[in-house]
Symmetry: C2
Subunit: 435 residues, 2 copies
């Protein structure tokens, strides 16, 4: 390894000049091994967050982070296996619907997913609302679940991109989370370490998204696709709407219920539609379907109950109680439900989805700190949604309480919901498809 | 104290938005008390180094750092006491000449000075070349020296601006040394904590200066003056040349010799001239002299030997061997002297003064790390200087060795000296006077 001067690297990045590949590689490697202290890495992260990185630097950073741990090369082990990543949102249960549905079409899908932190929920937290569900799988258990159910969602193991885990924890406490190159390297180092055949990225945009502005969401999507170049994993991205909660349910147990409802063909159409678009892309990327046959197969598996049956298999494969599919009372139940009434007649013109997310976190359904404990029963049902016409006094939402909170929550809830005399301009569910 | 969110502060400064006074104060206070870890402070320092600070933020930072420790309020204790600070250079012995000379004119002068680190030498290191000299004075000893000799130079005590000591050590290892607001707060927090009646700032400019470019030197001078506003200490700045070594001697013991020579009226004229300009300003700032009477008094004290006598008193007051004034052989002597000959006839058109400084550090006369031990005997005598006409084969410099080095040094020495057929354009010694 060529020599690298920490002093030089920090000074150069402070001035905005690009770093050499061997400098990035050595810095990440030495930091991961504990040879570079946190205070030097945090200075570098801040310099990157402010001054940015070239595409070349970003690709090198991604590679350095993924090489810090195991590489699974799943695409060599399976004929075709796909993966999906969402940048996160409120009520985002797409992964939960997508996995068994795609598996029911004969396409293997495996995800290493995350827990919720900040205003967005986490896929693993939702799954852990299912009694017995094991989201902490070993590599062997991961393969076992795929063999049994054709799909799996697990937490990232210790062995995958340890550099990312260490860097992410530092970013979280040094104000360097919002950074295109750092976000890109964090996401893609884990995805490329798993090494699926194809990956669909669901990049959210709007008030509840990590990237609120459309141009930022698009830049992130492009950056993520660019970082995968030459990796062997086919990557496509969809920019989807997160200016309103997705579906009706936002929380953990209530999102599991909504997931099952969608798979029974009875769920909210926005969840169904966004999942279907992503599933079509994955089926097409497998080379075994074209757009038309993919759509047809997906509709068929939903109608026939095959997708629902796959869901039972999947939950069982990860040691969860599959009876919840037919008996929602087996899931954690709210201690109390508070109804929120419309204060006036008119239209719901906007729900500040970030504020809604923080509201749900404060109910106990999410985390402000990494070691906060999730209250699975807590959540919100958005019975009336953005664009809906409402009458004064009508129930527009139900706040489901777990262990904390009370009637004072209604005032706070109404603070992030806007009403108007006319309906808001419609927003598309899927804004753009990037390949 | 109002609440302060570290997360908010770091995110805001990353985006380039200004911080509130209470945020800066609390951050510095909590960092100094060990409640904020190094990795969060280094992220803030990098954000400040890249995004800068407003004049208001910089003044608040300076105040927060000075309030982290003792405040001496010297101007309340003495009728008039002055202070001087140099941004540092090669062969910069101005403080050593200035102190006894100003004291000989009946004006008290006290400085808390620093040690050398990087390419520039340190005033305290030079003084410690004098056998017995005590540069680590308590507050009581500091006052005692002023009572005995009218002048004193000591290291900053533990009690002065502990925040600065802690922050400086962190900047040194996180690539955040070069930052106008951080440099300003570091210098002025210590100076204002001492609280002299008047302060003259010697801001260097050119290849051997911390700020090489004239506009950067001027910006620093203006920033330092602005940070003192409302403090009660009168501040003026002189921008002086550091595009060539100051005087003939650069090292430690050899600079003590040159200091005494100047005070005997026999030293190099550039050292004399720059010191005299600063001494005149301090005498005038005392209100007891005007420009003309100050100059007259200074010339008189030099001619009469009063300044030299004050030097003996001063060295004795700090427990040094004052006999060195009349017997240079009592100072550390080089083990060997290597002569550097001119490789061609012509003019010395430029000496890269930064490179000269690093050369001298490598001889052992300076420090690369804070715990390096100084070799007092090592140094360089620049017998022929920038602008001088030389003949091929003539001795242009003498390299004085202490414990290390040999003849191979001649090649390196000549690598930073340029020759030409014509003399270089002259540069003024004093570029500008700012008040």
């Amino acid at each position: 390894m060529k020599e690298m001067s920490v002093y030089e690297v920090l000074n150069r990045k402070r001035r905005g000049a690009p770093l050499e590949p061997h400098e990035i590689e050595t810095f990440v490697d030495r930091y991961t091994r504990g040879e570079i202290p946190d205070y030097q890495m945090s200075a570098l992260l801040m310099a990157i967050a402010i001054n940015g990185m070239t595409a070349q630097e970003m690709a090198t950073l991604t590679q350095a982070m993924l090489r810090s741990g195991e590489q699974w090369h799943l695409r060599n082990q399976y004929d075709f296996i796909c993966d999906k990543h969402s940048t996160g949102g409120i009520g985002d249960k797409i992964s939960l619907v997508l996995s068994p549905w795609v598996a029911a079409c004969g396409i293997k899908i495996g995800m290493l997913s995350g827990r919720g932190l900040g205003h967005t929920g986490g896929t693993l937290d939702k799954l852990e609302a299912i009694p017995g569900f094991n989201a902490r799988l070993s590599r062997k258990e991961f393969d076992g679940a795929i063999a049994e159910a054709g799909c799996v969602i697990s937490t990232s193991t210790e062995g995958i991109a340890p550099a990312d885990r260490k860097i992410y924890a530092l970013r979280d406490v040094t104000g360097t989370v919002e950074s295109l190159p750092l976000i890109t390297a964090s996401i893609m180092s884990k995805k490329l370490a798993m090494g699926a055949s194809a990956l669909i990225l669901d990049v959210k945009t709007g008030s509840g998204a990590f990237m609120r502005l459309y141009q930022d969401s698009k830049a992130l999507a492009q950056s993520l696709i660019a970082a995968a170049e030459g990796s062997g994993t086919k990557v496509e991205a969809l920019i989807t709407d997160m200016d309103r909660p997705l579906g009706v349910a936002a929380g953990n147990a209530n999102e599991i219920v909504e997931t099952i409802e969608v798979l029974k063909g009875k769920g909210p159409s926005d969840v169904l539609d966004i999942t279907r678009v992503q599933a079509v892309r994955l089926l097409v990327m497998s080379g075994r379907y074209d757009e038309a046959s993919a759509g047809k197969k997906l509709d068929e598996t939903l109608r026939s109950g095959a997708a629902l049956e796959q869901t039972r298999k999947w939950i069982a494969a990860q040691k969860g109680d599959a009876r919840i599919v037919d008996d929602y009372s087996r899931l954690p139940q709210p201690s109390k439900t508070i109804e929120v009434k419309a204060p006036r007649s008119g239209y719901i013109s906007h729900i500040d989805t970030y504020e809604a997310g923080m509201f749900i976190v404060d109910l106990g359904a999410g985390r402000k700190k990494a070691d906060d404990v999730i209250d699975f029963a807590a959540g919100v049902m958005f019975d009336r949604r953005t664009g809906d016409e409402v009458k004064a006094g009508e129930t527009i939402a139900r706040i489901q309480l777990g262990k904390r909170g009370g009637d004072e929550l209604v005032t706070r809830f109404l603070s992030f919901v806007q009403f108007a005399d006319a309906p808001p301009a419609p927003r598309p569910l899927v804004h753009e498809h990037l390949t």
